[in-house]
């Protein structure tokens, strides 16, 4: 198992390498030159040239790339052109927000999606099934950002139930700690702040979860339907097991396998969704930040973001494979070398 894991890890290296090349090319060869905006309204052509020289942007692209990778391998992702702050600092200070949001969203999406998927499959063609499937279909058809804005109008504008943006009321902000507000507030025993953070996360998390929820519901339903037709379900019923244990013990645990793959893949697409959701809800994570940085050609930050996100993405896929293998006794690591 460990060997398999290491092998898979090694296979990620070329993928990450090519990702870095791709992004580097897009950013440094095709993207607009940031010099004039980095230096603000007091720039001159001369100053811009000096800045480019200082940033090494006049070097041949290959030299630039090698320099960059050398530094990355030494843990240095460079310095943001605009804030003069190390990219690592910039990203690490925003990552907790994105991780917190994505994790809540994937939990919501999985729990709700799996629950309704099962109900739909078991009560196939019932009103609940039709309603769930219609909702799920609308869910995959709605632009995330539109859904977000509608929720803001409704819950924040008219009902005043939740704040329209941000992670937590400024005054409730935890001091010290990890930057994961749920964790920090709980550790501090500050339940008021915890619930405040929960309120803030509610709309963005639901918005972000929406699409994945719909996908997971549909996947769970079809997987459950597949499994419910299997012979071993008949065997289980023939044993005299109750409908509940047939569905949850025998059917669900088998149906879960493909669902887990989908959930894992959805986690990746959540990162995509986070770009839009964070923008709509002013959620201070790397999603909204990366849009900002792309728009102002902050090369080092974009390169860092893409590398880190790609890394998280491939690692997630690896973890899903491992989880799959752990849950399905039929899968053996040795067989799965492709």
């Amino acid at each position: 198992m460990l060997l398999y894991f290491i092998k898979r890890l090694l296979m990620l290296i070329p993928v990450l390498f090519f990702v870095s090349v791709l992004v580097f090319l897009i950013m440094r060869v095709f993207s607009p030159d940031p010099a004039t905006i980095v230096l603000g309204q007091h720039t001159t052509l001369e100053k811009a040239a000096a800045w480019r020289e200082a940033m090494g942007l006049n070097e041949p692209i290959v030299v630039q790339y090698l320099d960059y990778m050398y530094n990355v391998l030494h843990g240095d992702f460079g310095v943001s052109y605009f804030t003069n702050t190390p990219v690592t600092t910039e990203l690490l200070s925003r990552l907790p927000a994105t991780i917190e949001l994505s994790v809540i969203a994937i939990i919501i999406a999985s729990v709700v999606g799996v629950f309704f998927g099962i109900i739909s499959a078991v009560k196939k063609n019932s009103i609940i099934d039709n309603f769930t499937m219609t909702t799920a279909l609308i869910g995959v058809s709605m632009p995330v950002f539109w859904l977000g804005m509608l929720l803001i109008i409704l819950f924040s504008g008219y009902l005043h139930l939740v704040p329209s943006g941000g992670r937590i009321d400024t005054l409730m902000r935890p001091y010290g700690g990890t930057g994961f507000y749920f964790y920090d507030t709980l550790m501090a025993g500050d339940y008021e702040a915890f619930f405040n953070a929960l309120q803030h996360a509610a709309l963005p998390a639901v918005t972000l979860a929406g699409y994945s929820m719909a996908i997971i519901t549909r996947m769970t339903r079809s997987s459950m339907l597949d499994v419910l037709h299997q012979d071993y379900i008949r065997t289980a019923r023939a044993k005299g097991l109750s409908a509940k244990s047939v569905i949850f013990k025998h059917a669900f645990r088998n149906a879960l396998l493909p669902v887990i793959t989908v959930i894992g893949l959805q986690f990746g697409s959540l990162l995509s969704g986070a770009v839009l959701t964070e923008t709509v809800f002013a959620w201070p994570g790397i999603g909204a930040y990366s849009v900002q940085c792309i728009l102002r050609s902050d090369f080092p930050v974009i390169q860092g973001v893409v590398l880190i996100v790609a890394f998280v993405f491939v690692i997630m896929n690896l973890l899903v494979d491992l989880l799959y293998a752990a849950l399905d006794p039929r899968v053996k690591y040795a067989q799965e070398s492709a």
């Binding site: 095709f30 993207s31 279909l137 058809s141 539109w146 509608l150 990746g268 839009l276």
Partner: protein
């Protein structure tokens, strides 16, 4: 014998498909809606090319005195910040959404299918190389990649098409590859190889017909995601050039007025959702029609 059996089955397959779609009310309604959308877009485009306006108002020119009029008899969907009629703009927007959707899917479909088919057919290093390249594209969240592209190349319809098309190549490549590999493993292909059929002949005669249906299904669903992606790019301010109406761009502009003028937000969003929904429903229907296994459910 095998050949005639295949063609026989094929023709009845498309017939079955049509029957199955007709039996599926949602898919049929969607198809009609999609055709209506296409018709709207074409009629608007032709009339604009000929220089007359069939929309109630010029979608791109507004009367500044009439900014932010709530929906009423004259302006069914209200007017925007520049006093332009939202109803006309929403209708006008079908042009861009559909053309970007179709064009982006075509790009992805053609290059993806080719790459996947080549990889699957020839296998070996070439296959490995192609699939690793697909992995690279897949390992960056598609919207992030598309934004990066757009930011690099600048705004514009053509660039949006390219960006969206590019990020969805891997889906088609994967489908095509697995289909080709499955078909290739079939006995009759082995037989064709033994009897000395050329690669091209095998591809045209055996492989192309077999990968058509999954690819067609994927493409229909692909248009829906391309419409969503176009809107997302427009929303982030990286869509088409103004003053053309684009739904995502309209939503982006409405952001500052979501409380004071929610109608600027509602209608373009509805347009996106319903269009995407139609393509999804039709795609689902198509898949059920082409894949008897899923029809059973």
């Amino acid at each position: 014998m095998t050949d005639s059996a295949i063609t026989l089955r094929k023709s009845s397959k498309w017939g079955d498909m049509w029957a199955s779609i007709c039996a599926n009310k949602a898919a049929l309604t969607s198809l009609i809606f999609i055709l209506a959308l296409v018709l709207t877009a074409v009629v608007i485009a032709i009339s604009q090319a000929l220089g007359f306006q069939i929309l109630p108002y010029d979608p791109n020119v507004g009367d500044m005195d009439k900014a932010f009029i709530a929906p009423c008899a004259e302006h069914w969907f209200g007017t925007d910040q520049l006093g332009r009629d939202i109803f006309s703009r929403v209708l006008d927007g079908t042009k861009i959404s559909l053309s970007v959707g179709v064009a982006a899917v075509s790009i992805a479909l053609i290059s993806g299918t080719l790459l996947g088919a080549i990889g699957g057919f020839f296998g070996g290093r070439l296959d490995n190389l192609i699939m690793r390249a697909m992995d690279v594209i897949l390992s960056v969240p598609s919207i992030l990649l598309a934004i990066t592209f757009m930011a690099a190349m600048g705004r514009g319809l053509d660039k949006a098409v390219l960006a969206i098309g590019l990020v969805s190549i891997p889906e088609y490549a994967r489908i095509a590859r697995s289909c080709v590999m499955a078909v290739k493993a079939n006995d009759y292909i082995q037989a064709a190889r033994v009897t000395g059929d050329s690669n091209l002949r095998i591809i045209l005669k055996h492989i192309v017909p077999n990968i058509t249906s999954p690819i067609v299904v994927r493409a229909t669903l692909g248009i829906s995601s391309a419409v969503l992606d176009t809107a997302a790019l427009g929303f982030l301010g990286l869509g088409v050039q103004p003053p053309f109406a684009e739904w995502g761009d309209m939503l982006a502009r409405s952001r500052s007025f979501i409380f004071s003028a929610p109608y600027t937000l509602i209608f373009p969003g509805l347009a996106i959702t319903i269009t995407v929904l139609a393509f999804n429903l039709f795609g689902d229907g198509l898949r059920d029609a082409l894949d008897p296994r899923s029809r059973r459910r």
